[in-house]
Every structure is written in structure tokens, then in C-alpha cells.
């Protein structure tokens, strides 16, 4: 037994080694414990709601929420809503990633462009973007262009600002080294400034994508006919609380998946830091 698991102190290993012992050890692990806590809360919720005969309009049972979720996906068209929302979020986000990075590069490399753009950004950046929804509806209506615009508007400011910041922080020694090796201005932007700004740009992407998700769902709640936000609002209006919870679960999972995907991209981008 000794030395079989060098990571745990030998004194703990010696005391007991039965299957019960190893089971207790397993559920004591932080990761496992976290999931056990989730399961415990769900079971308690189910039992309390069932025992107290609570009105499902206020708090439906988890099993019923799950059933509603399955029905909504299989025959209620929730997949269409999900795809519509994803399309709006990532469509607008893609526009701001391209436009924002290019504008950021331009601002960071030209003092004049920076001076021109700076005041507008200073005025628009702190403005809560939801407040622009009425104006954008007047201009663009409530269809696809409006949704793309609101999503792009959410992401573009953090991306521009972080691109400018990242490029300004580039070590001047690297630019000298590139010039010494014969780089043109264009090559320096592409092969030195941009790669050195990638971690900072990605920090902007994280912030921006979060804002885009909030704005698209909020806009859908206000004017959408399809989309998770529209579905959520509609379910609330007709007191289908199970459906409200079901949509919230989808939104939560969407958030988790996006965060995890960003973590993976972060690790991939930063492999040279290891």
C-alpha cells in the first residue's frame, strides 16, 4: 500500500483501505462534492414542492421543468429559438471582432485616427447599450439588421479598446528587431503588433461576447418574435413557469459553454507562455 499513491501522505493511507473508505474519499473530493451539492438542492426542491403542494405557477418541480424542456425541444420549436439567438449573438459579434480589431489597429498606429475616434468612443462606451434599443428600432425596425446591430454594438467597444491597449503595450524592442530583419510597416502590423496584442484582444472578446449575449436576449424580450428572449418573455406572460425555467436553463448552459470555450481558446492562444 505504501508508496502506491505518493500524492497522499502515507499516514492516511495506512489507517484503512476498504471499499467504504475509498468511497468516502471519493465524495470528499472538491469536484465531486460540488456536483453532490447541486443534486442535493434539486432533490430537496422536488421534495419540498411536492410535500407542500406549492402552486406550480410560483415554483414548479424540477422533474416537470425537465419534462417541459424536453417537450419544448422535441415539438415546441425551442431549437429554432436557440439557433436564432445564437445566430444573432455570433453574427453581430463576428462583425465587431473584424471591424473592432481593424479600427483598433488603425487607432493604435495613427495618432490622427485615434484623436478622431477617441471622443466618440469616450461618449458611447459608458452608455448602457440597452438604452440604444429604442433608437435602433426607429432606425432599423425590429428585424435581423436591428438584432445584428445591437449585438455588434455590445461587443465592439471592449474589442476596440483592448486592441488599442494591446498594441500600445507591444515591446518597442520587438518592433526594432523586426525592422532590423527587414520587415515593412505592413509586416510589422501583421507579424508583430497583432500577435503581441492577441491576449489583450481576447480579453476584450470575453467582455464583448458577454455584453452581446445580454443585449440580444434583452432585445428579443422587447421586440422578438423568435429567440430565447422572446420565448422567455412569452412564457412569463401566460404564466407558464415551467417553460420560463426551461429557457433559463438553456441560457445558463449557453453561458457555461461559451465560458468553457473561451477558456480553451485562451489556453491555446497562451501556450507560448508556459
Amino acid at each position: 500500500m505504501l508508496g502506491e499513491r505518493p500524492s497522499t501522505p502515507a499516514i492516511m493511507e495506512r489507517s484503512d483501505s476498504g471499499p467504504v473508505r475509498s468511497f468516502i474519499q471519493k465524495i470528499g473530493e472538491p469536484r465531486v462534492l460540488g456536483w453532490i451539492a447541486v443534486a442535493a438542492v434539486l432533490i430537496m426542491w422536488e421534495i419540498v414542492v411536492a410535500a407542500a403542494h406549492l402552486n406550480p405557477i410560483y415554483l414548479p418541480r424540477p422533474t416537470h421543468i425537465l419534462a417541459a424542456l424536453v417537450t419544448m425541444f422535441s415539438s415546441g420549436g425551442l431549437l429554432t429559438d436557440l439557433l436564432a439567438t445564437l445566430g444573432r449573438i455570433f453574427g453581430g459579434f463576428a462583425v465587431s471582432l473584424i471591424v473592432g480589431t481593424l479600427l483598433g489597429i488603425w487607432m493604435a498606429t495613427s495618432e490622427r485616427v485615434n484623436a478622431i475616434a477617441d471622443n466618440f468612443i469616450a461618449a458611447l462606451y459608458p452608455l448602457p447599450k440597452v438604452t440604444l434599443i429604442p433608437l435602433l428600432i426607429i432606425w432599423l425596425g425590429t428585424g435581423g439588421p436591428f438584432m445584428l446591430a445591437i449585438s455588434a454594438l455590445g461587443a465592439i467597444f471592449p474589442i476596440v479598446i483592448n486592441t488599442v491597449l494591446g498594441i500600445r503595450q507591444c515591446d518597442p524592442g520587438l518592433i526594432l528587431a523586426a525592422r532590423d530583419l527587414g520587415a515593412s510597416n505592413r509586416q510589422i502590423i501583421k507579424m508583430v503588433l497583432l500577435p503581441s496584442a492577441v491576449p489583450s484582444i481576447f480579453a476584450g472578446v470575453r467582455l464583448g461576447l458577454g455584453v452581446s449575449i445580454i443585449l440580444v436576449v434583452a432585445a428579443e424580450m422587447v421586440v422578438g418574435k423568435v429567440g430565447l428572449g422572446a420565448r422567455l418573455y412569452l412564457a412569463g406572460q401566460i404564466l407558464e413557469t415551467e417553460q420560463v425555467f426551461a429557457v433559463l436553463i438553456v441560457l445558463a448552459i449557453l453561458g457555461v459553454v461559451v465560458t468553457k470555450a473561451q477558456d480553451l481558446v485562451d489556453i491555446w492562444l497562451n501556450q507560448w507562455r508556459a
Binding site: 528587431a177 532590423d180 530583419l181 527587414g182 500577435p195 507562455r273 508556459a274
Partner: protein, 270 residues
């Protein structure tokens, strides 16, 4: 052997404005000549503008007055094209997001060389600095001495006619510095490259150079040019050769007053 290109600095002067707006005179009428296929060391107190001078020679910085001329040795006239030059930097200046191989191949990539040819030239250049097989490592995974050898390989892969060395070993510990100095001494002795070495180490200047140019405190001017006639190949043992301490004392004598002057200016401006 092809005819070399000599480099002449003629009255090179540079004044720049500091952040506070006050003009700083970095270089004042600096004139000297770099003999082809020889090593010229430029030594001076810190802040005397010796690194700035290297940037001006490389063409990365324009002087306010004076010029840098490239003279074709065979005709004695100005060369029709600038010689190929490459710099090794004190802070290494490696691209941290590129692997060692990608760093060394950077200049070749800029020139549009094919991937396979680039890989071959990179491999040869890394072998030259004893780093064969390190292509896929990232700079952060290497020690300071190894990083600077990558910096050297990145310059050598360009097959420079003139190698510019800006305090290449300044950021390294004493033992690593000794070993790299010996390696560099061997490299310049065998390759016949023209080299300009900026340094603040008298020992390094004598070990590597054929001519030592001593600069004054700011504004940097030329205080003296000293020929180093010690036999090659040189190594650490060279420091025990009879002429060594004479040269050392001579350069130290010139430098000492300038270093004191530089310290006084620093204290006054602080």
C-alpha cells in the same frame, strides 16, 4: 573572398527631446571608420549614446547631422548597395509567441522564402550556436544564455556582411557571459564577418575586438581609438597575455573620468 564594405561615420550628431521637452544631446560629431572583416568595439559609460549610434548605423534612426557612409573597398567609392546587416540585442528581443525555429526563420519568412528552405537554413543556423533540436521550444522555456544564442542564430541566418552587437551579453550572468564571449570570438574569427560590438565591458572589448573606440560621457564623442593587436584565437587565457593589462589600463584610464562625469550628470539631473 569578395571585397568588403567599410563603414564610415562622418560627424554623426543626434539631439532628441526628452519627455519633459528639454533637448538632450546624445551624440556630437562622432566620426570613425569600421574596417571590413574586423571587429570594432564601441565602449563608453552608460547613457553615452553608443546603442543609439548602432541604430543610426543600422539605418533605424536618422541623425540630425552627419552621415553613415558605406565604402566599397575595391573601388574606394560609396557602395551601390548597403551591406546586409543584422543586429543582436541586449534584451534578446525574441518574439515570445514564436517558437525558437520561427524566431530564427523570421527574417527569411519576411523575404518570402519557402518553408522547406527556411527550415533547412534555420536548422543550420541553430547548429552554429549549439542549439540543434531546439526548434519547437518557446523562448520562455530557455535560459538567458540560450535565448541570446537564439538571438545570435536569428541574426546569423540572414548571412549578414555586418553583424551589429548591442551589449549582447549585458543581461547574462558572469559565467554564461564568459562562455558566450569565447564562442562569439571563435565565430567572428572563422566567419570573417564585419562586426560592431557595443559594450561597457573592457574585458569583452579586448577579447573580441581589433579596434576599440572609446566614447565620452553624454554628449557622446570619440575619446580615442585603440588597436588591439593581441594574437588570435583569443579566449579567457588572453587575459594573461603580457599586452592585455597594458591595454586594459589604457582603456580604463580613458573611461574612468568619463564614467565619473556620467555619474555626476545623472546625479544633477536626478
Amino acid at each position: 573572398m569578395p571585397a568588403g564594405t567599410a563603414i564610415e561615420c562622418n560627424g554623426v550628431s543626434l539631439t532628441y527631446s526628452a519627455k519633459s521637452g528639454t533637448p538632450v544631446e546624445a551624440l556630437r560629431r562622432v566620426s570613425f571608420r569600421v574596417t571590413p572583416r574586423r571587429v570594432t568595439a564601441v565602449i563608453g559609460p552608460s547613457g553615452c549614446g553608443k546603442s543609439t549610434l548602432l541604430l543610426i548605423i543600422r539605418g533605424l534612426l536618422a541623425p540630425n547631422a552627419g552621415q553613415v557612409l558605406f565604402i566599397d573597398e575595391t573601388t574606394g567609392n560609396r557602395a551601390s548597395t548597403k551591406p546586409r546587416m543584422a543586429t543582436v540585442w541586449q534584451g534578446f528581443n525574441l518574439f515570445p509567441w514564436r517558437t525558437v525555429g520561427e524566431n530564427v526563420g523570421f527574417g527569411l519568412e519576411l523575404g518570402g522564402m519557402s518553408r522547406s528552405e527556411r527550415a533547412e537554413r534555420t536548422r543550420r543556423s541553430l547548429a552554429l550556436v549549439d542549439l540543434a533540436g531546439f526548434e519547437s521550444k518557446y523562448p520562455r522555456q530557455l535560459s538567458g544564455g540560450m535565448r541570446q544564442r537564439v538571438g545570435l542564430a536569428r541574426a546569423l541566418v540572414m548571412e549578414p556582411e555586418v553583424l551589429l552587437l548591442d551589449e549582447p551579453f549585458g543581461a547574462l550572468d558572469a559565467q554564461t557571459r564568459l562562455i558566450l564571449q569565447e564562442q562569439l570570438a571563435r565565430l567572428v574569427e572563422t566567419s570573417g564577418t564585419t562586426a560592431i560590438l557595443v559594450t561597457h565591458s573592457i574585458e569583452e572589448a579586448i577579447l573580441l575586438a581589433d579596434t576599440v573606440v572609446v566614447m565620452t560621457a553624454r554628449p557622446g564623442r570619440i575619446a580615442a581609438e585603440i588597436r588591439i593587436d593581441l594574437p588570435r584565437p583569443r579566449s579567457l587565457a588572453t587575459t594573461h597575455v603580457a599586452g592585455y593589462s597594458l591595454l586594459f589600463d589604457q582603456i580604463y584610464g580613458l573611461l574612468r573620468d568619463e564614467v565619473v562625469k556620467a555619474m555626476t550628470t545623472e546625479m544633477e539631473s536626478a
